[in-house]
Symmetry: C2
Subunit: 287 residues, 2 copies
Amino acid sequence: MPFNPELWFTEKYSDFCGFTFKVKEVLHTEYSKLQRLDILDTYEFGRIMLLDGFIMFTQRDEFVYHEMITHLPLFAHKKPEAVLIIGGGDGGSAREVSRHTYLKRIDDVEIDEIVPKNSIEYTPFVGEGFKRENVNLIIGDGIEYVKNKSNMYDVVIVDSTDPFGPAEGLFNSEFYSNVKNILRDGGIVVAQAENAYYDAKWMMRSVNNMRKAFGRDKVTIYQAAIPTYPSGSWAFSIAWKGDEHPKDSFDEKRFNELDLKFKYYNPEIHKAAFVLPNYVREILESD
Amino acid sequence: MPFNPELWFTEKYSDFCGFTFKVKEVLHTEYSKLQRLDILDTYEFGRIMLLDGFIMFTQRDEFVYHEMITHLPLFAHKKPEAVLIIGGGDGGSAREVSRHTYLKRIDDVEIDEIVPKNSIEYTPFVGEGFKRENVNLIIGDGIEYVKNKSNMYDVVIVDSTDPFGPAEGLFNSEFYSNVKNILRDGGIVVAQAENAYYDAKWMMRSVNNMRKAFGRDKVTIYQAAIPTYPSGSWAFSIAWKGDEHPKDSFDEKRFNELDLKFKYYNPEIHKAAFVLPNYVREILESD
């Protein structure tokens, strides 16, 4: 039963614009030492998780983000065996990575235990990621976790919140030099990198931190169309230790053998996601 | 001077969500027999034109829509000489088409004279399209204009408002059989076709009308990332009379000779725009 027939939530994209949607019910609110979490039930998007008032995912379109931050780097890698997810506390990235059943190790390091706890309870369509046998959830600080470790993972996925509060340290260059060390030869790291339209500064912070660690010619961005994220076009920064550009190293054989069903990702999207409009290309090249 | 420090405008994407932005000033409001027009000045997006309360374009991101509805079909055509724009009353499409200076004829048939009049006055960055010497503005009904004419144009661009009110007849199948007749051999038609996320029904109405006229294998959609349009991912339906898919018929030689500067469009985008996520592909193939 809706407790308020006209309850609307607005996420500001800047001081001057935002996205607004009607809320059926606020199902749960909880504070950790790090942040505030809300679970909303909505008319248009199903269940939504907010952290500190920002949309983390909606039930209706989370598949785009979670497919594109996981399957693209996994199929770009020649032979991944061990995957590290940093953040991703809702379980959506773990859910998608776990479908690559040939992997020997999947670790997810999430700093705030209230996120997986509530995701499992209130948004099991993503929280189920932590129920998979091949997923190892570690409650801890990803920034600390990657320090003083080397040659442990083939793919690192930085599935963070926005670049303030708990995730701020994930947008620093020291973090990426540790990520480079923790990657094996041929390793690939991807990170959610905000968007080129409202937050080009943050997108470039992520790109430039990767550039410092991996070298300018081993970093780029790719994009995906996520209706409930600011601008609708989301950027992922990606860096690689090998020689081949991840756009060109799609593993068609493994893709066909696994024969997974995707709602967004496909072999053509794998390449097209790297094709940037001129104004985004210019932002990327100007800095 | 802002007359109201907290004036916000909200465009509803459905009954349950929408896009909201802060308005500096309502510069102009006018009614024709067909519709209401508003020109807003905003903090985030510069000037915005509304027709019947819906965003037609914003100063900040109109370049995406206008480049993608014009240059893609023009460079996909082998040797365009005559172009017809139906609608496009703001002048943005005319502005972009007019940059193809080799064209022998550019006609823009707009039904409502208040649109070009106010665009020229209040939003000259698009309205300037009608100041170009090679553009011929005709005030008239595009649905009537295409009746009983044949072999007149190489590219037809249906730059309409949303599919209710004055533009409703542009989403009918009779209209597209007339468009097919007015096209010469090798001709191409594109139309703005709403979006796959909130308005798949309207997208498919446009696609299916084209299919009835051109045949199922001569129609598809392509997409562009437009931050201020619903979902941020906009669909254009496209149909062709020739044998070659417009994705593959990009004219690199003419593109290089013209050497135009674009903010969004480029040769890689030309192809990538046709690459659809699985869920959009399924909508397209299921009907």
